[in-house]
Amino acid sequence: MLAARFAELRRARAGALAVLDTDGGRAFTRDDLAREVDRAGALLDEGGAAAPGGIVALQLANGAAFFAIILACWERDLVPMPVDHDVAAAALEDLCRVTGASAIVRASADGRTPAVRRHPVPGALATLPSGSALLKVTSGTTGEPRAVALTAVALEAGVAQIVATMGLEPGDRNLVTIPLAHSYAFDNVLLTLVHDGMPAILARDLTPRRLLAVAREAGATVLPTVPFVIDVLGRATQAGAVPSLRRVISAGAPLPAATRERFTATLGVRPRTFYGATECGGIAFDRDGEGDLPDGCVGAALDGVQLTLADPDEDGIGRVCVHSASVAAGYHAAPSRDTEPGEVELRDGRFLTADLGSFDARGRLQLVGRVREVVNLGGRKVYPLEIERVIRGVPGVLDVVVSGVARSSVTDALRAVVAAEPHVSREDIAAACEQRLARYKVPRSIEIVDSLPRTGRGKLDRRALDARYPID
């Protein structure tokens, strides 16, 4: 279905740019990419990848080969499973065993061309939900990877929602700074190319001046990225403008207002917050892109997405629940954790997230925390996001995470880990909290750091955080 869509695009304009790999300096037209797909297909066939319906794990860096393997899998009714580059060999092996992947595609010794390796499939395995076209791997709320099965129909619905809501057009060009193996880039970059013909400019060198020069030379118009990249680009005030750039998208972590405003001042385009999840694709987007977007506000639902709040409390705060045609069919070969409190649920076209939120007067979603992150302080419920918002308002603060750390068997204590510029002190943070929060909400432990530990996916690495900053 998606392979046929790309074939159609190729027939319409074979010479149009598809992928520009700035590392090797090679440009691939749709025709060139189709040839790469044929080559990738031959590789899969020779490697004895699988019978239709089989799962092919791929662990490849951003490059034309990534697109080619995905399309070649779809032409053969194989189900690709992109795996992050920094997943260790043993973890990849585990993932393949659990999901029943029959082949693994990784870079060969030269680091460029892909190589296929067969993987033994154990006997009794869970069957994939019918119509599955892709397995996305998510670390979920616990850090244990799970494979999410998506149908081609859901993928098409997901990319259509993104294109319509973000106002993307076939003439747009994505500047790619994020791994294609992640759900965010897969949807915003790979699917917009395969489904809508938007070329992908793959940036390898993220040095701000180089990245901006590449953007300029290649006429990049759209930059789907993460707050860290937005921060360094916003500070590159002498690196020159990118006149073609018209849409900058920030996802993966909260975007501090100061970082957003600095980027806007430097490059003349205001980054828009995007909220999504592997299980359902895009959820909400800063659609107006103007005025003051309060911290925690992630904008309004994407076109085609219905948002509800499950079990709202008296303040209107409930769990964010997503209904849309892009919701995944289910988890594959993973035990259901539906009965565990606070665990996400995926069923019947509905995804119950672990995020808590409320709607503001304009219908925008305001995230206030995660289900498991309601901290209980001797019976008083505290939402860390409320405290994070106050701390984020202190000049010089770049990022913050407040969490509850068990202090005794009956009560938690609050710990704030604050990424800030060197001039910010613990006392500044404590003073701001004391001024604006109830006394019991002032964190007992405040750590100032240069950056928060994040996983390869850009998500907060809670384990690293807990290990590094124990409460005393």
């Binding site: 040095t207 701000p208 001046r209 180089r210 360094v232 240069d450």
Partner: protein, 90 residues
């Protein structure tokens, strides 16, 4: 600024900017900054590139130059000195 002054300031930036748990004086000027005992990754490298540009008014155009310039504190001080001289004469 003299080379030792630049080296001193660069060490301070490294420690303060990336919040290392060591004193600037403990950094060996000829040791590699990245991929060494300091435990810094590619995100730290990007952050340090931006800090150097912000504080010394020099341009680091790409990764190749960054790798050479940030090879060690000594190499960095030399790079900054060269850049500043070039700017003064041009």
């Amino acid at each position: 600024m003299t080379k030792p002054e630049i080296a001193q300031r660069a060490k301070e930036l490294l420690v303060e900017g990336l919040r290392l748990e060591i004193a600037p004086g403990e950094i060996v000027e000829t040791d590699p900054i990245f991929g060494s005992g300091l435990g810094l990754d590619s995100i730290d490298a990007l952050e340090f590139v931006v800090l150097i540009e912000e504080n010394f008014g020099v341009a680091i155009p790409d990764e190749t130059v960054a790798k050479q310039a940030l090879a060690s504190i000594d190499a960095l001080a030399e790079f900054i000195l060269d850049e500043q001289r070039r700017r003064a004469t041009s």
